[in-house]
């Protein structure tokens, strides 16, 4: 192991990051600098560009732009309001009804749109004024919305799992998708427990009962949107198509839904929606390309080996090691967005987890769950920012109401970490994983 290489790699990376250089550029230059210590200039560059090119050349990656596009079409299509109405039926009779509606709607919308941020904006934006009208503390409502919007990253389809599958060397996307269900539901339900408890203590109102006809109508309204999930997951589980093909079908499905059934998107709006999806995709894509170089640079400097040796000298108890990994990831998540964190830390921790005998699907779900908490924390949290801005609450005001939710999320994270069955049960049952 070569300390010099490691110091150059991480030193320059964190320096660039701190200055505010775009993360993908910081990854690329830091990797180049560290590889330069062991290879001549042209050879070092050849490694980076070769890794970038081969990293981007993957059919599995194609699912990412398609799911993003399908999600963006759905976002324009008045889907949020239909899912919120449906969520009112599911959670409308619990204490502090509107909090539960917010959480449930985030679980459904987040799953369909595949984006925590889009979900926090669409669902939270609609729910915040409703809750304010019923006397909910805006900071509390914002906290509920912020912590529940990442549930959709675990409940499939989820681009996060596709990226993990790629960087972990081809973990089954179908198994990851199915495995995400229980941890995602667990995340949502644990938040609902806290929300219900707080709402009861503060005396937040319970919504009136809806009539049978209303229930039927709202369910029928939401069905076409939820049908997308059935098409995608049914197709993948049934072995009818791959995740990438499912994502292309999802685009066609949402197009028909938004343009023909709901008539909420016109042909004229389409180019702007596609362009927006390209932007989101290319941010992720450049990160992936650059990370491939960094992954090589880290392996070249024996970083994964060194970290696993260090961890194993601290303890050879898998429970302690997993705890340490989780703590490191929680700290990383405070400062770094989910995708770069996943891309950088999977190659480091994945070999250790494998050595502990952990299942790759279980490990991926644990990492995703962990980093999902990170996007809700200050100072850098995309969910936190958008949640505060749609609720019109200052970030420092929302910290205190967030604390009980963080606590329950960390408890749920521990359950996901130490009970592999939560992640593996469904893939084993449906896919014989």
């Amino acid at each position: 192991m070569d300390w010099q290489i490691i110091i150059v790699l991480f030193g320059s990376f964190f320096l660039f990051l701190g200055i505010g250089v775009p993360i993908s550029f910081a990854i690329g230059i830091a990797s180049l600098l560290s590889i330069l210590l062991s290879l001549p200039f042209d050879a070092a560059l050849a490694v980076i560009s070769q890794k970038m090119a081969s990293g981007l050349d993957s059919f599995a990656l194609l699912a990412i732009p398609f799911f993003i596009l399908a999600g963006n079409i759905m976002n324009q299509g008045g889907i949020a309001i239909r899912l919120i109405e449906f969520a009112k039926i599911l959670g409308g009779r619990l204490p502090g009804s509107l909090s539960h509606v917010n959480i449930l709607a985030n679980m459904m919308f987040g799953s369909i749109s595949g984006s925590a941020v889009a979900s926090a904006a669409a669902v939270g934006g609609t729910m915040a004024p409703l809750q304010a009208k019923e006397g909910y503390d805006p900071a509390y409502s914002a906290a509920v919305n912020i912590t529940s919007c990442p549930t959709g990253l675990l409940i499939p389809p989820s681009n996060t799992f596709i990226i993990y599958s790629l960087i972990s060397g081809g973990t089954s996307i179908g198994a990851l998708f199915l495995g995400g269900y229980i941890p995602g539901l667990l995340m949502g339900l644990s938040l609902m427990c806290v929300a219900g408890f707080i709402a009861k203590r503060r005396g937040y109102p319970v919504s009136p009962k809806s009539s049978g006809a209303e229930i039927l109508k709202k369910t029928l309204d939401a069905l076409p949107s939820l049908g997308l999930i059935i098409v995608i997951m049914g197709g993948i589980i049934g072995g009818i198509f791959t995740a990438t093909e499912a994502s292309a079908i999802a685009v066609v499905y949402t197009l028909i839904l938004a343009m023909v059934v709901y008539r909420s998107v016109s042909l004229k709006q389409l180019p702007a929606i596609i362009l927006e999806s390209v932007v989101t995709t290319s941010i992720v894509l450049l990160l992936i390309g650059a990370s491939m170089g960094m992954s090589w640079a880290m392996a070249n400097a024996d970083v994964p080996y060194m970290i696993s040796e260090t961890l194993l000298t601290i303890s050879d108890n898998p429970i302690i090691i997993l705890l340490i990994i989780n703590i490191i990831l929680l700290i990383v998540g405070i400062f770094m967005d989910m995708t770069p964190a996943l891309l950088i830390f999977t190659p480091i921790f994945f070999p250790i987890a494998m050595e502990l005998g952990m299942d790759p699907v279980h490990f991926g779900i644990m990492m995703t769950f962990n980093l999902a908490i990170g996007i809700c924390t200050p100072p850098v949290g995309s969910a936190l920012f958008i949640g505060c801005s749609v609720a019109n609450v200052r970030i420092d005001k929302v910290i205190k109401p967030l604390l009980p939710f963080y606590a329950v999320l960390i408890v749920a994270l521990m359950l996901v970490t130490f009970i592999p069955q939560l992640s593996l049960m469904l893939p084993q049952f449906f896919l014989g994983y």
């Binding site: 505010g20 993360i23 690329g28 560059l45 980076i48 560009s49 732009p65 932007v279 290319s282 894509l285």
Partner: protein, 168 residues
């Protein structure tokens, strides 16, 4: 300069929008041909992968022009009230980004392209020159350099409002 940027924005966005649409059709066709026509198409997999590399990289250049790449902007936010320091920081960030675009994308990617063209490596089912697929990397770098040049000129111009920022 501004005119060039406007044209680049137009060309890149048009390119990405149209190729994305082809990309969707390509994969839908793959499913359709396998299930409905019972003739699994052998070439759509490759076309889709190559189109994706081009759309993604041209999109990455466009995204840089829109200043939308992920970055941690805590320091910039801290310096917001100090216009001169803020400008200097932006200049530093843009110069570092320029190193990435020129050295890694244009020079490194360009060499990869030339080397692949020289060895004549072709894709298995379409017989496509892989060097042409990889050409997207240096081209993306060139577009990035143009956007960064605009930003750097803006950073070093003495008048703060001389060049309007990119539309967000």
């Amino acid at each position: 300069m501004n005119k060039l940027i406007t044209i680049m924005n137009k060309v890149l966005s048009l390119f990405c929008i149209s190729l994305s649409s082809v990309l969707v059709l390509c994969v839908v066709w793959q499913v359709f041909s396998r299930y409905v026509l019972n003739v699994p198409s052998t070439f759509t997999d490759e076309i889709a992968r190559f189109l994706f590399i081009w759309v993604g990289l041209m999109g990455a250049a466009y995204t840089l022009g829109q200043k939308r790449h992920l970055a941690i902007d805590l320091l910039a936010m801290k310096l917001e009230h100090d216009a001169i320091k803020h400008k200097r920081l932006k200049l530093l960030i843009n110069l570092i980004s320029m190193v990435f675009a020129s050295v890694i994308m244009v020079y490194g990617g360009g060499k990869l392209m030339l080397k692949t063209l020289a060895t004549g490596q072709i894709s298995p089912s379409l017989g496509m020159e892989m060097g042409l697929v990889y050409a997207a990397i240096p081209l993306c770098g060139l577009f990035m350099m143009a956007y960064l040049l605009r930003d750097i000129l803006e950073d070093i111009s003495p008048d703060i409002n001389s060049i309007p920022p990119a539309n967000h």
